[in-house]
Symmetry: D2
Subunit: 297 residues, 4 copies
């Protein structure tokens, strides 16, 4: 497995009453399979995993088990034991790696030592490689640079999804020269400078709505065309601003409006509020503009 | 039901391998039944509810179903549907009310409107009254004064557990003169000034370790003896500082050292780290001091 | 000097072009002299001291030098040397003590050790006693409980103005039993519970607009009438909410509307924006209500 | 004037008793003049301007008035009137532009509208162009993207020093395509990705200690050699980490150890603490390593 390229952080379809719609999830997957995406993250933050029961999580993992691209499973739970169990289940289904968010509810006790212990215990027992997942805007805690470097030496910890937006940390991580440890960033609006700084790729919510726009940035960068990469980067900003302000409802609305009918976004589960008509219209306009703005490769 | 007095926020016993020990939970309950506590909160933040499976949560609720005192169930989950389900289960077991933490993972979308919608939907369908639960140090979001006042008018929302430590908000809430709406605070170190400001009582982790020390503060206050209430308040500060710095492991250690062998604290579940020997010793000293310091009523 | 009772945190009058109006400052002082206030803080945060030149600060200190009540001078500057100089000047004018805000611009280096060093150096050389001043909402740093306790042992450090609103810290400070060390709180909306917790008094912006409303709280508390103290506390909340939301412009507007023509508030200096007509009207209504609400002693 | 390239954020020399040493400041300037730096910022945050009296600030501005390179003056004060006055003084000495930090003490009232008013009033009256200066880690407030864009249309506002480290904001600012508006970043550790994102250059504390190391990053980037730019970027990280952790004392220590005797750093003014011998030694090692690590152009 090579952790490189653009991975889509998939959404989980629900109908208007909040029921899981695996059929629509599978339809979405079929659509993504024809893109140049490197793979998918199933059950990440974009997937409302935290709103699913254990049985639902397992059903979603099974529904994506037969894709051709690299599949990553979000298996982080607050307790070590539940995380171990979900990771083993993902491994049994053939997932390439598990992306594991920092546990965070008891913030004061989630010290670097506790987090290092958590990930080492998990990596020791996991049949598949572990990718650390740091997302302070949602968790309220930060996996420090030093803790990340300490964990990178574990043979079964192979990477980090860094969603802090902290470029300084990214630069320092890359400079640490960690062998066999990939850093994937989590923000589409800073993808190009992150690649410059040394990121291997990205796991992006935007890639679930507009995969080509994300790939345009990466492809230009890989081709050494910095001017086109910067132009492609700037092209996505309006769309990012439009959906990010609306959290999961915005992302799902973007999946709806940007997929030409091939993909289903739908509403989030409650307590998240669905989009208003005005919000949907604004999203549609921002994504219509995106299609025009992305530079041809 | 009268939401008044001191409620213990119970811990959930595990053995050294992290297995749930309901027998020890029941032993603890038997010990608390002989105190003057008003009741208990089962499955609150102190209970590591977030580390329990759904089945385990139900088992813990069942284990406390037959106590004599008022029993409150912590039933908050991130999704509305899971919260509704757990609340109904608690109601079926005879719990007096449900204490429901603010959902919080998707912080940007947990606006006042979303939180108001969540609690109203829940209260509309719940067979038992709802108590709001605001704990920003763990959730990273704050249920605002205005949202709280808006929710207090719902006939099935009967109170608030306020664990922000924000005395200004407490004073303003009390001044709003909300009929049939009780405010219970969540911090033992500010219990006396909170009662002065108008709180009806408290749901306290310290009350699971040292119920008498908490009751001494409230009893002196109810008797109009402000000098003794202040002395009783000051008596608990060292013990509070000792266990609070150590999060759940500290609280469980306090249950161990302060209960004269009648109560079992034990270790927290991973990823929380167990106490070191030095930490246990420091706790024991702080709680030995507490026993001496509490003024006789 | 006894640091007890209610001190008004005075405003500094400017005309519409931002010129200092010492004549109006002196008129305000004459009005305050006939109240039961314990004294004044000149050049505090309420006084826009940070917008005054060094010469203007000295002129303001001189203008208040002959009042009958206890006068405290805000002399904190970012550098130790400038703080020492301004403190000496205040001493030469007969000020009873200097209230010295934590230096804070270089946040990372304002460690407890640096702050302890700053206050000890200052107290060693100051002809008048020093009162520590902690206001994290404006400074972005917090003078910790431990640093405060360490500083309280200095013979020339006699108290603390605590404007954090942190009741937990207040309770712990009082419990430390520091001899000859007074704690004055900085928030009118929590005055009564703060007095219960052991504060000696308060330095309040509200006391510059509505001294009687603040005194009603303290007088009831000193008389042991907790019910009336709580009612007096609740009476000021709407007025507090009205002016605090508008920062210094709101306070000055409150001085204008609440003083029956005997006191001048006026506009703040730029970059602060003056009040709109609608804001002035809302303030006037809140303070008209305050007059009615304060319980008679 | 072209706002492009690397500007050094100069330090202000003091002797061990805290006295201003303009002779050493002039010696430092002579040393910088022989580098390829684009120019200097005098009286920025690195200069402890906030610890200087008004007379001292003017003396420092005069001392640098005759340099050959582009000279920028830090003229921000909390009040508009004092900022206007200091800006006029800098203009009278021939400074090319004024770098003006956001006023910030009264955080609640420093709304976008107030900040926009402040900068427009200043720019209207200033004889020289204004560069906005946003440094949230020190000020506790953020000049928003929208406010920046609004201000960029003023003909006398020509740029922004952005020291937030927020790459997302930088990307969005560049994408806004603001004509005649330059963005200079404030952090050496993210210089290369910032240039990729479109920054014109930087104003760097590190450039006062090790100008060549900063120039190596920019030169490689300008030459289109991204690999060498990234290597040069990574080369400075250890030195950055070493001095940044120690605030101004660390920067001044770095000026001492990295200048081969040609430049004087010296101690900061109190309340900042001077470096310990161990801290000086660690700095010397980090900067010795820097000299070896910078790739040859």
């Amino acid at each position: 497995m090579q952790l490189r390229g653009i991975f889509a952080a998939l959404t989980t379809p629900f109908d208007d009453s909040g029921e899981l719609r695996l059929d629509l999830f599978e339809r979405n997957l079929a659509s993504y399979e024809s893109t140049e995406l490197a793979g998918y993250l199933v059950l990440g933050s974009s997937a409302e995993a935290i709103y699913l029961t254990t049985d639902e999580k397992r059903a979603v993992l099974r529904a994506a088990a037969n894709v051709q691209k690299i599949k990553l499973a979000g298996t982080g739970e607050e307790s070590l034991r539940a995380t171990v169990e979900m990771t083993r289940y993902a491994a049994s289904l053939g997932y390439a790696a598990a992306v594991v968010r920092t546990p965070h509810y008891y913030k004061k006790s989630m010290t670097p030592a506790a987090l290092i212990g958590f990930y080492r215990d998990l990596a020791d027992t996991s049949p598949i490689p572990i990718i650390l997942y740091n997302i302070p805007p949602l968790t309220g805690i930060d996996l420090t640079l030093d803790a990340t470097i300490a964990l990178a030496s574990h043979p079964n910890i192979v990477g980090l999804k860094e969603s802090s937006g902290n470029t300084d940390k990214l630069v320092r991580l890359m400079a640490a020269g960690l062998p066999n440890f990939a850093v994937l960033v989590g923000g589409a609006s800073t993808l190009y400078p992150s690649l410059c700084a040394g990121a291997s790729g990205a796991i992006l919510a935007l890639a679930a709505a507009a995969p080509e726009a994300c790939l345009a940035i990466e492809n230009a960068y890989r081709a050494g065309n910095h001017a086109r990469a910067l132009a492609a980067q700037q092209a996505v900003l309006r769309a990012c601003a439009a959906f990010e302000a609306l959290s999961i409802a915005g992302l799902k609305g973007a999946v709806d409006v940007a997929g030409d009918g091939a993909r289903y976004g739908g509403p989030p589960r409650k307590p998240q509020l669905p989009l208003t008509a005005a919000q949907k219209q604004a999203l549609a306009e921002a994504f219509a503009g995106l299609r025009i703005a992305v530079p041809a490769s």
